[in-house]
Amino acid sequence: MKVLEIKKVRRYFGGIKAVENFSLDVEEGAIVGLIGPNGAGKSTLFNCVAGVFPPTAGEIVFLGERTAGLKPWDLCRRGLARTFQIVKPFASRSVLYNVMVGAFAGTARRSEAERRALEVLERLRMVKIKDARAGNLTIADRKRLEIARALATRPRLLLLDEVMAGLRPTEVDEMVAIIKGLRDSGMTIFVIEHIMRAIMALSDRIAVLHFGSKIAEGTPQEIARDERVIKAYLGEDYGAA
Protein backbone atom coordinates (compact mmCIF):
# COMPACT_ATOMS: atom_id res chain seq x y z
CA MET A 1 0.00 0.00 0.00
CA LYS A 2 1.19 3.51 -0.74
CA VAL A 3 1.32 5.70 2.34
CA LEU A 4 2.34 8.81 0.46
CA GLU A 5 2.01 9.75 -3.19
CA ILE A 6 3.63 12.93 -4.41
CA LYS A 7 2.43 13.77 -7.92
CA LYS A 8 4.16 16.40 -10.05
CA VAL A 9 4.57 18.80 -7.18
CA ARG A 10 6.01 22.25 -7.77
CA ARG A 11 6.70 24.94 -5.26
CA TYR A 12 7.85 28.40 -6.30
CA PHE A 13 8.84 31.28 -4.07
CA GLY A 14 8.44 34.29 -6.31
CA GLY A 15 10.99 33.57 -9.01
CA ILE A 16 12.73 30.76 -7.13
CA LYS A 17 11.74 27.30 -8.30
CA ALA A 18 12.40 25.45 -5.08
CA VAL A 19 10.68 22.24 -6.20
CA GLU A 20 9.98 21.43 -9.84
CA ASN A 21 7.73 18.60 -11.05
CA PHE A 22 8.60 16.17 -8.30
CA SER A 23 6.89 12.77 -8.11
CA LEU A 24 7.52 9.98 -5.65
CA ASP A 25 5.64 7.14 -3.98
CA VAL A 26 6.39 5.95 -0.49
CA GLU A 27 5.32 2.36 0.26
CA GLU A 28 4.10 1.32 3.66
CA GLY A 29 6.87 0.10 5.93
CA ALA A 30 9.65 1.52 3.78
CA ILE A 31 12.45 3.88 4.64
CA VAL A 32 12.82 6.31 1.76
CA GLY A 33 15.76 8.68 1.65
CA LEU A 34 15.86 12.11 0.07
CA ILE A 35 19.25 13.60 -0.70
CA GLY A 36 20.59 16.55 -2.62
CA PRO A 37 22.89 19.54 -2.27
CA ASN A 38 22.10 22.52 -0.03
CA GLY A 39 19.18 24.52 -1.30
CA ALA A 40 17.99 21.69 -3.56
CA GLY A 41 14.46 22.01 -2.19
CA LYS A 42 14.32 19.06 0.21
CA SER A 43 12.92 20.92 3.19
CA THR A 44 10.51 22.77 0.92
CA LEU A 45 9.15 19.44 -0.28
CA PHE A 46 8.69 18.31 3.32
CA ASN A 47 6.86 21.51 4.13
CA CYS A 48 4.46 20.88 1.26
CA VAL A 49 3.86 17.32 2.39
CA ALA A 50 3.33 18.40 6.01
CA GLY A 51 0.84 21.12 5.03
CA VAL A 52 2.95 24.12 6.08
CA PHE A 53 2.21 25.67 2.71
CA PRO A 54 0.41 24.30 -0.34
CA PRO A 55 2.32 23.25 -3.44
CA THR A 56 2.16 25.77 -6.28
CA ALA A 57 0.96 22.93 -8.48
CA GLY A 58 0.60 19.17 -8.24
CA GLU A 59 -1.03 16.88 -5.78
CA ILE A 60 -0.12 15.06 -2.60
CA VAL A 61 -2.04 12.02 -1.40
CA PHE A 62 -1.59 10.77 2.15
CA LEU A 63 -3.18 7.44 3.09
CA GLY A 64 -5.43 7.67 0.08
CA GLU A 65 -6.66 11.19 0.86
CA ARG A 66 -5.71 14.31 -1.04
CA THR A 67 -4.08 16.75 1.35
CA ALA A 68 -5.04 19.98 -0.40
CA GLY A 69 -6.48 22.34 2.19
CA LEU A 70 -5.37 20.26 5.16
CA LYS A 71 -3.38 22.13 7.80
CA PRO A 72 -0.35 20.72 9.62
CA TRP A 73 -2.44 19.84 12.67
CA ASP A 74 -5.03 18.04 10.52
CA LEU A 75 -2.32 15.98 8.89
CA CYS A 76 -0.74 15.25 12.23
CA ARG A 77 -4.02 13.85 13.52
CA ARG A 78 -4.27 11.69 10.40
CA GLY A 79 -0.94 10.13 11.21
CA LEU A 80 1.79 12.33 9.73
CA ALA A 81 4.55 13.63 11.94
CA ARG A 82 7.66 15.60 11.09
CA THR A 83 10.79 17.04 12.64
CA PHE A 84 12.29 20.41 11.84
CA GLN A 85 15.75 20.84 10.40
CA ILE A 86 16.20 23.82 12.70
CA VAL A 87 14.99 22.32 15.94
CA LYS A 88 12.16 24.11 17.69
CA PRO A 89 11.90 22.87 21.26
CA PHE A 90 9.48 24.45 23.72
CA ALA A 91 12.56 25.79 25.40
CA SER A 92 11.26 26.85 28.78
CA ARG A 93 9.65 23.49 29.50
CA SER A 94 10.96 20.06 30.45
CA VAL A 95 11.70 17.28 27.99
CA LEU A 96 8.72 15.32 29.31
CA TYR A 97 6.46 18.36 28.82
CA ASN A 98 7.65 18.69 25.23
CA VAL A 99 6.91 15.07 24.45
CA MET A 100 3.53 15.21 26.19
CA VAL A 101 2.44 17.97 23.81
CA GLY A 102 2.86 15.45 21.03
CA ALA A 103 1.17 12.68 23.01
CA PHE A 104 -1.95 14.81 23.51
CA ALA A 105 -2.63 14.41 19.79
CA GLY A 106 -3.95 10.96 20.55
CA THR A 107 -5.58 11.41 23.94
CA ALA A 108 -7.14 14.15 26.03
CA ARG A 109 -6.18 12.51 29.31
CA ARG A 110 -3.12 13.77 31.05
CA SER A 111 -2.18 10.48 32.67
CA GLU A 112 -2.42 8.67 29.34
CA ALA A 113 -0.39 11.40 27.61
CA GLU A 114 2.27 11.09 30.27
CA ARG A 115 2.33 7.32 29.91
CA ARG A 116 2.74 7.55 26.13
CA ALA A 117 5.42 10.20 26.46
CA LEU A 118 7.41 8.12 28.91
CA GLU A 119 7.10 5.13 26.61
CA VAL A 120 8.65 7.13 23.78
CA LEU A 121 11.38 8.52 26.01
CA GLU A 122 12.19 4.99 27.11
CA ARG A 123 12.49 3.88 23.51
CA LEU A 124 14.85 6.75 22.66
CA ARG A 125 16.79 6.26 25.90
CA MET A 126 15.96 9.74 27.13
CA VAL A 127 14.26 8.91 30.41
CA LYS A 128 17.27 10.12 32.36
CA ILE A 129 16.87 13.64 31.00
CA LYS A 130 13.07 13.81 31.15
CA ASP A 131 13.10 16.63 33.70
CA ALA A 132 15.79 18.70 32.00
CA ARG A 133 14.79 22.06 30.53
CA ALA A 134 14.53 21.59 26.78
CA GLY A 135 16.38 24.85 26.16
CA ASN A 136 19.44 23.51 27.99
CA LEU A 137 19.88 20.32 25.99
CA THR A 138 22.89 19.48 23.84
CA ILE A 139 22.34 19.56 20.09
CA ALA A 140 22.21 15.75 19.92
CA ASP A 141 19.54 15.63 22.60
CA ARG A 142 17.56 18.39 20.91
CA LYS A 143 17.49 16.37 17.72
CA ARG A 144 16.34 13.34 19.64
CA LEU A 145 13.70 15.44 21.37
CA GLU A 146 12.37 16.47 17.94
CA ILE A 147 11.97 12.79 17.09
CA ALA A 148 10.51 11.93 20.47
CA ARG A 149 7.80 14.60 20.18
CA ALA A 150 6.92 13.44 16.68
CA LEU A 151 6.78 9.80 17.77
CA ALA A 152 4.52 10.63 20.67
CA THR A 153 1.81 11.56 18.18
CA ARG A 154 1.95 7.88 17.07
CA PRO A 155 2.39 8.58 13.36
CA ARG A 156 1.98 6.19 10.44
CA LEU A 157 4.46 8.27 8.43
CA LEU A 158 7.42 10.07 9.94
CA LEU A 159 9.32 12.81 8.09
CA LEU A 160 12.83 13.33 9.41
CA ASP A 161 14.68 16.45 8.24
CA GLU A 162 18.42 16.11 8.86
CA VAL A 163 18.14 14.65 12.32
CA MET A 164 21.76 13.50 12.22
CA ALA A 165 23.44 16.74 11.23
CA GLY A 166 25.85 17.80 13.95
CA LEU A 167 25.96 14.41 15.65
CA ARG A 168 29.15 12.53 16.45
CA PRO A 169 29.79 9.24 14.57
CA THR A 170 28.75 7.06 17.50
CA GLU A 171 25.59 9.12 17.90
CA VAL A 172 24.86 8.69 14.20
CA ASP A 173 25.11 4.92 14.54
CA GLU A 174 22.79 5.03 17.49
CA MET A 175 20.29 7.11 15.51
CA VAL A 176 20.43 4.72 12.55
CA ALA A 177 19.61 1.86 14.91
CA ILE A 178 16.73 3.81 16.41
CA ILE A 179 15.23 4.64 13.02
CA LYS A 180 15.54 1.04 11.86
CA GLY A 181 13.81 -0.01 15.05
CA LEU A 182 10.94 2.36 14.28
CA ARG A 183 10.51 0.87 10.84
CA ASP A 184 10.57 -2.64 12.27
CA SER A 185 7.65 -1.67 14.47
CA GLY A 186 5.66 -0.84 11.33
CA MET A 187 6.24 2.86 10.78
CA THR A 188 6.94 4.34 7.35
CA ILE A 189 9.83 6.80 7.24
CA PHE A 190 10.79 9.51 4.79
CA VAL A 191 14.17 10.94 5.65
CA ILE A 192 16.35 13.82 4.47
CA GLU A 193 20.00 13.38 5.30
CA HIS A 194 23.38 14.65 4.23
CA ILE A 195 25.43 11.97 5.96
CA MET A 196 25.91 9.43 3.17
CA ARG A 197 26.99 6.56 5.36
CA ALA A 198 23.77 6.85 7.32
CA ILE A 199 21.39 7.31 4.43
CA MET A 200 22.93 4.42 2.51
CA ALA A 201 22.65 2.12 5.50
CA LEU A 202 19.09 3.15 6.27
CA SER A 203 17.18 3.54 3.04
CA ASP A 204 15.30 1.00 0.99
CA ARG A 205 15.03 3.57 -1.78
CA ILE A 206 16.61 6.97 -2.31
CA ALA A 207 15.49 9.95 -4.38
CA VAL A 208 17.94 12.66 -5.38
CA LEU A 209 16.96 16.30 -5.74
CA HIS A 210 19.02 18.77 -7.71
CA PHE A 211 17.87 22.37 -8.18
CA GLY A 212 14.35 21.29 -7.32
CA SER A 213 14.13 18.42 -9.80
CA LYS A 214 14.45 14.71 -9.16
CA ILE A 215 17.49 13.50 -11.06
CA ALA A 216 17.52 9.92 -9.85
CA GLU A 217 15.64 7.35 -7.84
CA GLY A 218 16.59 3.82 -6.87
CA THR A 219 18.17 1.53 -4.33
CA PRO A 220 21.22 2.82 -2.47
CA GLN A 221 23.47 0.72 -4.73
CA GLU A 222 21.92 2.18 -7.88
CA ILE A 223 22.22 5.72 -6.53
CA ALA A 224 25.86 5.24 -5.58
CA ARG A 225 26.63 4.19 -9.14
CA ASP A 226 24.52 6.81 -10.93
CA GLU A 227 26.68 9.09 -13.06
CA ARG A 228 24.51 12.14 -12.72
CA VAL A 229 24.20 11.78 -8.97
CA ILE A 230 27.92 11.44 -8.61
CA LYS A 231 28.46 14.56 -10.70
CA ALA A 232 25.79 16.63 -9.06
CA TYR A 233 26.12 15.64 -5.49
CA LEU A 234 28.23 12.74 -4.29
CA GLY A 235 31.43 13.84 -5.93
CA GLU A 236 33.99 11.66 -7.74
CA ASP A 237 35.49 10.37 -4.53
CA TYR A 238 32.31 8.72 -3.40
CA GLY A 239 31.71 7.05 -6.74
CA ALA A 240 35.19 5.61 -6.77
CA ALA A 241 34.96 4.27 -3.25
Binding site: K71, P72, W73, C76, A81, K88, P89, V101, F104, T153
Partner: protein, 335 residues
Protein backbone atom coordinates in the same frame (compact mmCIF):
# COMPACT_ATOMS: atom_id res chain seq x y z
CA UNK B 1 10.40 15.93 44.59
CA UNK B 2 8.77 17.30 47.67
CA UNK B 3 6.40 15.18 49.64
CA UNK B 4 3.01 16.42 48.54
CA UNK B 5 1.71 16.99 52.03
CA UNK B 6 4.55 19.37 52.81
CA UNK B 7 3.68 21.27 49.68
CA UNK B 8 -0.01 21.45 50.43
CA UNK B 9 0.36 22.53 54.02
CA UNK B 10 1.43 26.13 53.31
CA UNK B 11 -1.44 26.46 50.84
CA UNK B 12 -3.92 25.39 53.48
CA UNK B 13 -2.37 27.81 55.95
CA UNK B 14 -2.57 30.70 53.50
CA UNK B 15 -6.20 29.89 52.73
CA UNK B 16 -7.08 29.74 56.41
CA UNK B 17 -5.31 33.01 57.06
CA UNK B 18 -7.14 34.67 54.18
CA UNK B 19 -10.49 33.52 55.49
CA UNK B 20 -9.69 34.64 59.02
CA UNK B 21 -8.25 37.99 58.05
CA UNK B 22 -11.43 40.10 58.49
CA UNK B 23 -11.50 38.99 62.14
CA UNK B 24 -8.25 40.84 62.66
CA UNK B 25 -8.56 43.60 60.10
CA UNK B 26 -11.59 45.56 61.20
CA UNK B 27 -10.67 48.93 59.71
CA UNK B 28 -12.88 49.57 56.70
CA UNK B 29 -10.02 51.27 54.89
CA UNK B 30 -7.74 48.28 55.17
CA UNK B 31 -10.48 45.89 54.25
CA UNK B 32 -11.15 48.03 51.20
CA UNK B 33 -7.49 47.81 50.23
CA UNK B 34 -7.53 44.05 50.70
CA UNK B 35 -10.66 43.69 48.58
CA UNK B 36 -9.05 45.66 45.77
CA UNK B 37 -5.92 43.56 46.15
CA UNK B 38 -7.89 40.35 45.69
CA UNK B 39 -9.90 41.91 42.88
CA UNK B 40 -6.71 42.70 41.02
CA UNK B 41 -5.25 39.29 41.78
CA UNK B 42 -8.44 37.83 40.31
CA UNK B 43 -8.34 40.07 37.23
CA UNK B 44 -4.67 39.33 36.66
CA UNK B 45 -5.16 35.60 37.02
CA UNK B 46 -7.93 35.76 34.44
CA UNK B 47 -5.70 37.84 32.15
CA UNK B 48 -2.94 35.30 32.64
CA UNK B 49 -4.93 32.58 30.88
CA UNK B 50 -4.35 34.34 27.60
CA UNK B 51 -1.57 36.82 28.37
CA UNK B 52 0.51 34.29 30.24
CA UNK B 53 -0.13 30.83 28.91
CA UNK B 54 -0.93 31.72 25.33
CA UNK B 55 2.10 34.01 25.03
CA UNK B 56 0.34 37.08 23.63
CA UNK B 57 0.02 40.52 25.17
CA UNK B 58 -3.57 41.67 25.59
CA UNK B 59 -3.70 45.30 26.67
CA UNK B 60 -7.43 45.93 26.61
CA UNK B 61 -8.94 43.80 29.32
CA UNK B 62 -10.65 46.81 30.85
CA UNK B 63 -13.21 46.46 28.06
CA UNK B 64 -14.34 43.16 29.55
CA UNK B 65 -14.49 44.62 33.03
CA UNK B 66 -16.70 47.33 31.58
CA UNK B 67 -18.91 44.94 29.64
CA UNK B 68 -19.48 42.90 32.79
CA UNK B 69 -20.16 45.93 34.94
CA UNK B 70 -22.55 47.58 32.50
CA UNK B 71 -24.47 44.43 31.57
CA UNK B 72 -25.34 43.39 35.09
CA UNK B 73 -26.02 46.96 36.19
CA UNK B 74 -28.32 47.75 33.29
CA UNK B 75 -30.17 44.46 33.75
CA UNK B 76 -30.67 45.06 37.45
CA UNK B 77 -31.51 48.76 37.23
CA UNK B 78 -33.88 48.56 34.29
CA UNK B 79 -35.26 45.04 34.46
CA UNK B 80 -34.82 44.08 38.09
CA UNK B 81 -32.65 41.08 37.19
CA UNK B 82 -30.42 39.93 40.03
CA UNK B 83 -26.81 40.97 39.48
CA UNK B 84 -25.83 37.34 39.98
CA UNK B 85 -27.65 36.49 36.78
CA UNK B 86 -26.55 39.66 35.04
CA UNK B 87 -23.00 38.70 35.96
CA UNK B 88 -23.13 35.65 33.74
CA UNK B 89 -24.99 37.43 30.97
CA UNK B 90 -22.20 40.01 30.88
CA UNK B 91 -19.58 37.30 30.94
CA UNK B 92 -21.13 35.59 27.95
CA UNK B 93 -21.19 38.83 25.99
CA UNK B 94 -17.58 39.45 26.94
CA UNK B 95 -16.58 35.98 25.80
CA UNK B 96 -18.16 36.61 22.40
CA UNK B 97 -16.41 39.97 22.11
CA UNK B 98 -13.14 38.34 23.13
CA UNK B 99 -13.47 35.77 20.38
CA UNK B 100 -14.30 38.49 17.85
CA UNK B 101 -11.10 40.33 18.74
CA UNK B 102 -9.09 37.15 18.74
CA UNK B 103 -10.28 35.71 15.43
CA UNK B 104 -8.37 38.01 13.09
CA UNK B 105 -5.52 38.93 15.43
CA UNK B 106 -4.30 35.62 16.81
CA UNK B 107 -2.88 34.70 13.43
CA UNK B 108 -0.52 37.63 13.73
CA UNK B 109 2.23 38.03 16.20
CA UNK B 110 2.73 40.09 19.32
CA UNK B 111 2.58 43.75 18.49
CA UNK B 112 -0.49 43.66 16.28
CA UNK B 113 -2.45 41.78 18.88
CA UNK B 114 -1.44 44.25 21.58
CA UNK B 115 -2.44 47.17 19.36
CA UNK B 116 -5.73 45.59 18.37
CA UNK B 117 -6.74 44.98 21.96
CA UNK B 118 -5.88 48.54 22.97
CA UNK B 119 -7.83 49.99 20.07
CA UNK B 120 -10.79 47.74 20.70
CA UNK B 121 -10.96 48.61 24.37
CA UNK B 122 -10.53 52.32 23.75
CA UNK B 123 -13.10 52.18 20.97
CA UNK B 124 -15.65 50.59 23.27
CA UNK B 125 -14.92 53.15 25.98
CA UNK B 126 -15.31 56.06 23.57
CA UNK B 127 -18.58 54.56 22.37
CA UNK B 128 -19.93 54.28 25.90
CA UNK B 129 -18.93 57.86 26.59
CA UNK B 130 -20.92 58.97 23.60
CA UNK B 131 -24.18 57.18 23.89
CA UNK B 132 -26.99 57.75 26.31
CA UNK B 133 -29.13 54.95 24.99
CA UNK B 134 -28.10 51.78 23.26
CA UNK B 135 -31.41 50.55 21.87
CA UNK B 136 -33.63 50.15 24.93
CA UNK B 137 -30.69 50.28 27.34
CA UNK B 138 -29.83 53.37 29.32
CA UNK B 139 -26.09 54.00 29.33
CA UNK B 140 -25.85 57.64 30.29
CA UNK B 141 -22.67 58.45 28.42
CA UNK B 142 -19.86 59.86 30.53
CA UNK B 143 -22.13 60.27 33.56
CA UNK B 144 -22.37 56.54 34.01
CA UNK B 145 -24.75 54.59 36.16
CA UNK B 146 -25.47 54.90 39.84
CA UNK B 147 -26.73 51.86 41.72
CA UNK B 148 -29.03 53.00 44.54
CA UNK B 149 -28.29 51.00 47.67
CA UNK B 150 -31.89 50.08 48.36
CA UNK B 151 -32.05 46.37 48.95
CA UNK B 152 -29.13 44.70 50.65
CA UNK B 153 -28.51 41.00 51.03
CA UNK B 154 -26.89 38.14 49.17
CA UNK B 155 -29.56 37.83 46.46
CA UNK B 156 -29.16 41.48 45.58
CA UNK B 157 -25.35 41.29 45.65
CA UNK B 158 -25.31 44.35 47.86
CA UNK B 159 -24.15 44.73 51.42
CA UNK B 160 -23.82 47.44 54.01
CA UNK B 161 -20.48 46.15 55.29
CA UNK B 162 -17.31 45.27 53.48
CA UNK B 163 -16.88 41.75 54.87
CA UNK B 164 -19.31 40.04 52.48
CA UNK B 165 -17.54 41.62 49.52
CA UNK B 166 -14.27 40.40 50.95
CA UNK B 167 -15.51 36.84 51.09
CA UNK B 168 -17.10 36.94 47.67
CA UNK B 169 -13.94 38.13 45.95
CA UNK B 170 -11.87 35.69 47.98
CA UNK B 171 -14.01 32.79 46.79
CA UNK B 172 -13.86 34.09 43.23
CA UNK B 173 -10.08 34.30 43.46
CA UNK B 174 -9.77 30.81 44.89
CA UNK B 175 -12.02 29.48 42.12
CA UNK B 176 -10.12 31.15 39.31
CA UNK B 177 -6.81 29.95 40.74
CA UNK B 178 -8.12 26.40 40.91
CA UNK B 179 -9.36 26.70 37.35
CA UNK B 180 -6.01 28.02 36.15
CA UNK B 181 -4.26 25.19 37.91
CA UNK B 182 -6.52 22.64 36.26
CA UNK B 183 -6.08 24.22 32.83
CA UNK B 184 -2.32 24.40 33.15
CA UNK B 185 -2.28 20.63 33.63
CA UNK B 186 -4.77 19.88 30.89
CA UNK B 187 -4.37 19.33 27.17
CA UNK B 188 -5.48 22.93 26.58
CA UNK B 189 -2.78 24.19 28.93
CA UNK B 190 -0.09 22.22 27.13
CA UNK B 191 -1.38 23.40 23.77
CA UNK B 192 -1.40 27.05 24.86
CA UNK B 193 2.16 26.93 26.11
CA UNK B 194 3.35 25.06 23.03
CA UNK B 195 1.56 27.42 20.65
CA UNK B 196 2.88 30.44 22.52
CA UNK B 197 6.49 29.31 22.46
CA UNK B 198 6.89 27.69 19.04
CA UNK B 199 3.74 27.91 16.96
CA UNK B 200 5.13 26.01 13.98
CA UNK B 201 6.38 23.12 16.05
CA UNK B 202 3.11 23.04 17.96
CA UNK B 203 1.09 22.88 14.75
CA UNK B 204 3.21 20.03 13.47
CA UNK B 205 2.35 18.17 16.67
CA UNK B 206 -1.36 18.47 16.07
CA UNK B 207 -2.05 21.75 17.86
CA UNK B 208 -4.53 24.11 16.25
CA UNK B 209 -2.81 27.09 17.81
CA UNK B 210 -5.37 29.72 16.86
CA UNK B 211 -8.22 27.63 18.22
CA UNK B 212 -6.45 27.04 21.55
CA UNK B 213 -5.80 30.76 21.88
CA UNK B 214 -9.42 31.55 21.08
CA UNK B 215 -10.57 29.17 23.77
CA UNK B 216 -8.24 30.87 26.23
CA UNK B 217 -9.42 34.30 25.15
CA UNK B 218 -13.06 33.32 25.56
CA UNK B 219 -12.43 32.03 29.07
CA UNK B 220 -10.28 34.96 30.01
CA UNK B 221 -12.79 37.57 28.88
CA UNK B 222 -15.64 35.62 30.49
CA UNK B 223 -13.86 35.53 33.84
CA UNK B 224 -12.77 39.16 33.61
CA UNK B 225 -16.35 40.28 33.02
CA UNK B 226 -17.47 38.49 36.19
CA UNK B 227 -15.15 40.77 38.12
CA UNK B 228 -16.74 43.74 36.37
CA UNK B 229 -20.04 42.94 38.03
CA UNK B 230 -18.29 42.60 41.36
CA UNK B 231 -16.69 45.99 40.81
CA UNK B 232 -20.04 47.59 40.02
CA UNK B 233 -21.73 46.09 43.06
CA UNK B 234 -18.82 47.02 45.29
CA UNK B 235 -18.52 50.64 44.24
CA UNK B 236 -22.21 51.16 43.32
CA UNK B 237 -21.22 53.67 40.67
CA UNK B 238 -19.76 52.96 37.26
CA UNK B 239 -18.81 55.20 34.39
CA UNK B 240 -16.67 54.56 31.32
CA UNK B 241 -13.52 56.09 32.83
CA UNK B 242 -13.83 54.07 36.03
CA UNK B 243 -14.40 50.61 34.60
CA UNK B 244 -12.98 50.82 31.09
CA UNK B 245 -9.91 52.98 31.29
CA UNK B 246 -6.64 52.04 29.66
CA UNK B 247 -5.02 52.34 33.08
CA UNK B 248 -6.90 49.30 34.32
CA UNK B 249 -5.80 47.28 31.31
CA UNK B 250 -2.21 48.29 31.86
CA UNK B 251 -2.23 47.73 35.60
CA UNK B 252 -3.53 44.20 35.10
CA UNK B 253 -0.81 43.48 32.57
CA UNK B 254 1.91 45.08 34.73
CA UNK B 255 0.95 43.05 37.78
CA UNK B 256 1.05 39.84 35.78
CA UNK B 257 4.35 40.66 34.14
CA UNK B 258 6.07 41.66 37.34
CA UNK B 259 4.70 38.71 39.26
CA UNK B 260 5.49 36.32 36.45
CA UNK B 261 3.15 35.60 33.60
CA UNK B 262 2.37 32.05 32.70
CA UNK B 263 2.71 30.88 36.26
CA UNK B 264 -0.11 30.34 38.71
CA UNK B 265 1.47 32.14 41.65
CA UNK B 266 2.76 35.05 39.57
CA UNK B 267 -0.40 37.16 39.33
CA UNK B 268 -1.22 36.78 43.02
CA UNK B 269 2.33 37.59 43.95
CA UNK B 270 2.32 40.61 41.67
CA UNK B 271 -0.89 41.90 43.21
CA UNK B 272 0.46 41.35 46.72
CA UNK B 273 3.55 43.38 45.92
CA UNK B 274 2.12 46.13 43.74
CA UNK B 275 -1.35 46.88 45.03
CA UNK B 276 -0.09 48.08 48.43
CA UNK B 277 2.45 50.26 46.66
CA UNK B 278 -0.27 51.93 44.67
CA UNK B 279 -2.76 52.22 47.55
CA UNK B 280 -0.33 53.56 50.10
CA UNK B 281 1.46 55.93 47.79
CA UNK B 282 -1.95 57.27 46.83
CA UNK B 283 -2.94 57.67 50.48
CA UNK B 284 0.31 59.22 51.68
CA UNK B 285 1.75 60.94 48.63
CA UNK B 286 -1.35 61.42 46.50
CA UNK B 287 -1.29 65.18 46.99
CA UNK B 288 2.40 65.90 47.21
CA UNK B 289 3.81 63.39 44.76
CA UNK B 290 1.07 62.51 42.29
CA UNK B 291 1.84 59.57 40.04
CA UNK B 292 4.56 58.29 42.35
CA UNK B 293 3.14 54.78 42.36
CA UNK B 294 3.08 54.73 38.58
CA UNK B 295 6.75 55.69 38.49
CA UNK B 296 7.45 52.88 40.93
CA UNK B 297 5.40 50.50 38.75
CA UNK B 298 7.34 51.56 35.70
CA UNK B 299 10.74 51.25 37.33
CA UNK B 300 9.94 47.87 38.88
CA UNK B 301 8.57 46.68 35.56
CA UNK B 302 11.68 47.69 33.64
CA UNK B 303 14.01 46.21 36.25
CA UNK B 304 12.10 42.94 36.40
CA UNK B 305 12.08 42.64 32.62
CA UNK B 306 15.82 43.28 32.51
CA UNK B 307 16.92 41.02 35.30
CA UNK B 308 14.11 38.56 35.94
CA UNK B 309 12.14 38.38 32.69
CA UNK B 310 10.06 35.47 33.90
CA UNK B 311 8.86 37.53 36.83
CA UNK B 312 9.52 37.64 40.54
CA UNK B 313 7.69 34.36 40.92
CA UNK B 314 10.72 32.47 39.69
CA UNK B 315 13.35 33.35 42.29
CA UNK B 316 10.74 33.24 45.03
CA UNK B 317 9.55 29.78 44.01
CA UNK B 318 13.12 28.57 43.94
CA UNK B 319 13.73 30.02 47.39
CA UNK B 320 10.53 28.51 48.69
CA UNK B 321 11.31 25.08 47.31
CA UNK B 322 14.77 25.16 48.81
CA UNK B 323 13.36 26.14 52.15
CA UNK B 324 10.78 23.36 51.98
CA UNK B 325 13.38 20.83 51.00
CA UNK B 326 15.55 21.85 53.86
CA UNK B 327 12.62 21.63 56.24
CA UNK B 328 11.43 18.24 55.06
CA UNK B 329 15.00 17.01 54.72
CA UNK B 330 15.64 18.03 58.32
CA UNK B 331 12.61 16.08 59.43
CA UNK B 332 13.73 12.96 57.62
CA UNK B 333 17.19 13.21 59.10
CA UNK B 334 15.81 13.30 62.62
CA UNK B 335 13.49 10.30 62.96
Amino acid sequence: MLPSRARKLPLVLVALAAFGLPLVVTSATYLHILILLFLYAYLTTSWNLVGGFAGVLPLGHAAFVGIGAYTSTILSLQYGVSPWIGMFAGALIAAVVGVIIGLPTFKMRGAYFALATIAFAEGIRVMFENIDHLGPFQINGPRGLQIPPLKTGLVHFMFADKEPYYYIILVMLAAVLALTWAISRSKLGFYLVAGGEEPEAAQALGVNVARAKLAAMAMSSFLTALAGTFWAQFTLYIHPKSVMSLDISFEIAFIALIGGRGSIAGPVLGALLLRPVSDFSRIYFGDTLPGLHLIIFGVVLVLVMLFQPRGLQEPLTRFYQQAMRRLSGGREAAP
